[in-house]
């Protein structure tokens, strides 16, 4: 029973991922694409969680936190690039 539910949720997550890929390819502006990439990171986290339940292992739990951190840093870097034009500045007070 739980096995069927897990596989069903994997399929639903994959469909959601397809929708995000559509937004990533089609998105008219760059912020659309960045939000789609961020949501894909969150989706990837849930896929890893469901997969670790299917494979009955707890070794993926570190990966989940890792993907979340990397998605956050990547989104922040993109947002700063869009806002200021440079990602890392030398002195922000001048």
């Amino acid at each position: 029973m739980i096995d069927i539910a897990l596989k069903l949720s994997l399929i639903i997550l994959a469909i959601a991922m397809l929708g995000l890929v559509y937004r990533l390819v089609k998105g008219p502006t760059t912020p659309d694409r960045i939000v789609a990439l961020d949501a894909m990171g969150v989706n990837l986290v849930s896929i890893a969680a469901v997969l670790s339940m299917i494979l009955n292992t707890s070794n993926f739990l570190d990966i989940i936190l890792l993907i979340a951190i990397l998605a956050f840093i990547g989104t922040v870097a993109y947002a700063k690039f869009l806002e200021k034009g440079e990602v890392i500045e030398y002195d922000r007070n001048q």
Partner: protein
């Protein structure tokens, strides 16, 4: 134009320590669980990159006065020293040793010299990543 990103800077101050603690945990868990020096070093440099994004290079240099090029040398020294230290005990190059110790807070713990080698990998990964990012970021 001067922008005011209070939310991002406050979040970065909190998340920095979460990432650092996660990196240390992944570094020390490397012997029995997935992880190790490489991922730990990458995560630590990720935390420093988050600080670089939230603040600027001058502030981070003031708060974290580490020459990352020296860190590469220190890491290589740790790796080579761990490998060469085995020669002192008349065993082949790169032979590791371990034993069980009764530590005051942790109880019975297995200490392994492979951890020192991993520490070298950790330092080299931090040094290389931060050197690359700082050199690219500094160029006008």
């Amino acid at each position: 134009m001067k922008t005011n990103d209070v939310i991002f800077q406050t979040v970065a101050k909190v998340v920095f320590f979460m990432i650092i603690f996660f990196a240390v945990r992944i570094f020390f868990a490397g012997h029995y669980y997935p992880g190790g020096g490489f991922v730990g070093g990458l995560l630590t440099s990720g935390a420093i990159v988050l600080l670089l994004l939230a603040f600027d290079m001058k502030t981070v240099k003031k708060g974290l006065p580490i020459d990352f090029k020296c860190l590469i040398g220190l890491g290589l020294l740790f790796g080579a020293g761990t490998a060469a230290g085995s020669l002192l005990f008349n065993v082949p190059f790169f032979t590791h040793a371990y034993d069980y110790f009764q530590l005051p807070l942790f109880g019975k713990t297995s200490l392994h010299t492979a951890m020192l080698f991993d520490l070298g990998v950790y330092f080299v990964v931090i040094g290389v990543t931060m050197t690359i990012i700082q050199t690219i970021g500094e160029s006008e």
